[in-house]
Symmetry: C2
Subunit: 470 residues, 2 copies
């Protein structure tokens, strides 16, 4: 029996206890947006780590809620993995939509239902339990591990970059693993090498000091909604192409390996269509499914409001209207440059419309041929019997750039949750199978790292040029 | 002293009494939209007409609130004028914005303040008092008069066309005078020969069964707001031209006389700009001011709503959005044809967007060389000392087509109210000077008709071809 086999056998025996302890962990509310239960949750996570892992967890302050940091090692010549998770959860509202209360964890049909169980408590708890199992069975870990949990992920990680800069030395690792999000919709495990970035902004049109009568002034008084309609029409055309000058200049097209990996991803458009209830896919029509989510920036109107909203008609020319928009950025794009392109465009096409920049997060992309990926792939294969899917990027945005850009580390998303975890929604859940599988994959990852020798830092996967070269 | 001079001298003597009686008349609420005071107001108007004019006013039922009809004559060989007004008023809300309660008429600075005093009670009451003055001074009227008051003008006159069709014989007249609206902004009296028509409709986009996350599905799930933005962009371009196929086909350009009259209208764009607080006039930029309100159809977005409306940003792809629109129609256009053009356009450019037609009212236009206009011009000159301005059309919409199209009669708007009457708004008012001047102009109009001999009905101004020939 190998070291890993002994750990996995122990995990199997402990399964019932692990689920019970997970339920205790998620019973504690930790709603960062509402400042509910945060201190207690942070203490609880510290205690869990410090009590049984042989590590000392520290609660480190930020300008917001504290971060938890724990470190094992260093064992010379062994690689160091930085595991990042978050102990805060989304607000549970609407309560009435929950079949069981969000902070009274309940098992139904092989799943644990509770707010935050999928996003992100069961996922980083799986890593904690894998470490505990290694420590219990062998009295030590096979590699170096840094555990880091933040308490503000659900409110946009406003202090994460500062924290990482400040504690750069204590976070010295070889690569980063983030277990958040979910398995591929097909049920297969997946490793994501990055995610899209994000900018958001508002457009405000004011064409008069008050609304006017459409009969008395129709043809004379300009209309704020028409201003926005015509401006927006210059930003993305009816064929779906973003037409803002310069916006695509930074975009790094997929490398040959990213291209090949993407083409190998299973696609079930029909399932997405029936979940979301749309007929035709968004324009442009000639793009492969995953290219839309990985390799092309988007321009989404999140909301547009102006003028009369009630029943029947009201003969009014609206003097004010606003649009809220976001864009998803792909590899190579920076929020600063994109925001400037949009600002310049608005200024050129509708100088009277006010452009209000909101937030920005850079995209992140780890080279798909990063040698550290082999450890993750090996771990998944050891537990699941087959290789994970390889996904160059998520469509959504995570604070990954903090690790990949500020720390310059290869960063991987290794999600454990089921695809229907309902994160950010009522009846959030994790399947017990997925949770247990996450513990096993984490344990196998530590084993794989333990069998290896630390690579030198001048590995090509750390070279920023590699990110750009395609 | 002429017959008219005797009447005008009597009017001067009665001025104080007339204002007091106007205040009694407007004290009675008659809010058609809220079904408040309608019966009492109709009875009151009937009594006023029947008691002192030597006419018998009848209350005639409709499917809604009744119409009041009174007729003097026929005196053979004398022309018959049909005077149309409405005894219903707009809802007075918001009450707190009124300096004196809307149904407690109050005099301040030479004006009577009350809901409905300008729109339309003082204006048709001026005609009633002019008739009363003629009857009191001379024991008879110099011409034939039909008085008609409806009770549903402020809710869109839903039963007016049916009423006019049903009582066609009793409404047999030579021409129609409607005293509603206000003097020209310059303070000069004005005669309007028509008004724009109206259609309203809604556009509803649904691109999915629920909103989706802009990261997880941006580029995949179509966006309902983008659907509307791109559709609307095909309906009117950024230069301000309506680009719906066929929409201008019916438009009758102004005749030479309409052109000349329009060019003679005084324009104070600066005053309009400072009232409404806009900088540049609406596009296209190269149109004369009154052409915009008379000779060009408009397409106004009254409201557009979809997606997130709250503070900050929400990363959502909206699955639904709607726009409420109206169009103002000009001479020659029919609501049915225009509605079909819009429906066809929506179907061609955005077959997934639902087109919901709402209301339609045809435009109305009396030939600017109608011989009946001379009576009105004469009356204004007799009282004011100068000719009125001649305006081919109002920008707004009135139910004038019922008289000009269904009855085929030349129809004129002869407004008495001050330009700042604040109709449909708090602190509605009429200046006592305007009210008294209205009584005098009405008396002078009857005098002018009394001096004339009835024209034959085959007068060219009744010929529908004349409307189209330009
Ligand atoms: Zn989350
Ligand atoms: Zn009105």
């Amino acid at each position: 029996m190998s070291d890993l086999e002994a750990v996995l056998a122990h995990v199997d025996v402990q399964a019932h206890d692990y689920v019970a302890r997970l339920m205790e962990y998620v019973r504690q509310p930790s709603i960062s947006a509402q400042r509910i239960g945060m201190d207690e949750a942070a203490m609880l996570a510290c205690d869990i780590i410090s009590e049984r892992l042989g590590m000392e967890a520290e609660l480190l302050p930020t300008a917001g809620f504290p971060c938890i940091l724990a470190r094992h090692g260093p064992i010379p010549d062994k690689p160091t993995v930085l595991i990042y998770g978050h102990y805060d959860v989304q607000p549970p509202e609407p309560y009435e939509a929950w079949l069981s209360p969000p902070f009274e964890p309940t098992i139904r049909n092989g799943r644990v239902y509770a707010r935050g169980v999928g996003d992100n408590k069961a996922q980083h708890f799986a890593h904690i339990l894998a470490l505990e199992a290694w420590h219990t069975v062998h009295g030590s870990f096979p590699c170096n591990v840094i555990l880091m949990l933040e308490g503000e992920e659900e409110v946009g990680s406003p202090n994460l970059a500062g924290f990482v800069r400040e504690h750069r030395e204590r976070l010295a690792a070889d690569f980063v693993v983030i277990s958040d999000g979910h398995l591929h919709e097909s049920g297969q495990p997946v490793i994501c090498f990055g995610n899209r970035g994000f900018v958001s902004f508002e457009l405000h049109a004011r064409t008069g000091s008050r609304d006017a009568h459409s009969g008395n002034f129709g043809g004379v008084m300009p209309n704020a909604i028409w201003s926005l309609v015509h401006l927006l029409g210059t930003m993305k055309n009816a064929d779906g192409y973003i037409t803002i000058a310069g916006l695509h200049d930074q975009v790094v097209p997929p490398s040959n390996r990213e291209r090949a990996a993407t083409d190998a991803l299973p696609v079930d458009l029909g399932a997405v269509q029936s979940t979301l209830g749309f007929r035709a896919i968004d324009r442009p029509e000639d793009r492969p499914y995953y290219d839309r989510l990985m390799f092309h920036p988007t321009l989404t109107i999140n909301g547009l409001h102006g003028g009369y909203e009630g029943e029947g008609s009201k003969a009014v020319i609206p003097a004010t209207a606003f649009a809220k928009c976001d864009m998803r950025l792909v590899s190579g794009q920076t929020p600063e440059y994109v925001m400037r392109c949009v600002a310049d465009h608005v200024h050129a096409f509708a100088p009277d419309v006010e452009f209000r920049p909101l937030q920005g997060t850079p995209p992140a992309r780890t080279p798909i041929d990063s040698p550290y990926a082999t450890y993750l792939i090996e771990a998944v294969r050891a537990v699941c019997g087959s290789k994970p899917l390889i996904q160059a990027s998520l469509g959504a945005t995570l604070p990954t750039h903090v690790f990949s850009t500020i720390l310059g580390l290869p960063t991987f998303l290794l999600p454990f949750a089921n695809a229907d975890e309902a994160n950010h929604a009522p009846n959030e859940n994790i399947s017990i199978d997925c949770f247990m599988s996450g513990i096993r994959i984490s344990a196998a990852l530590f084993a794989a790292l333990g069998r290896s020798i630390r690579m030198t830092r001048k590995d090509p996967s750390h070279d920023p040029d590699n990110l750009r070269s395609g």
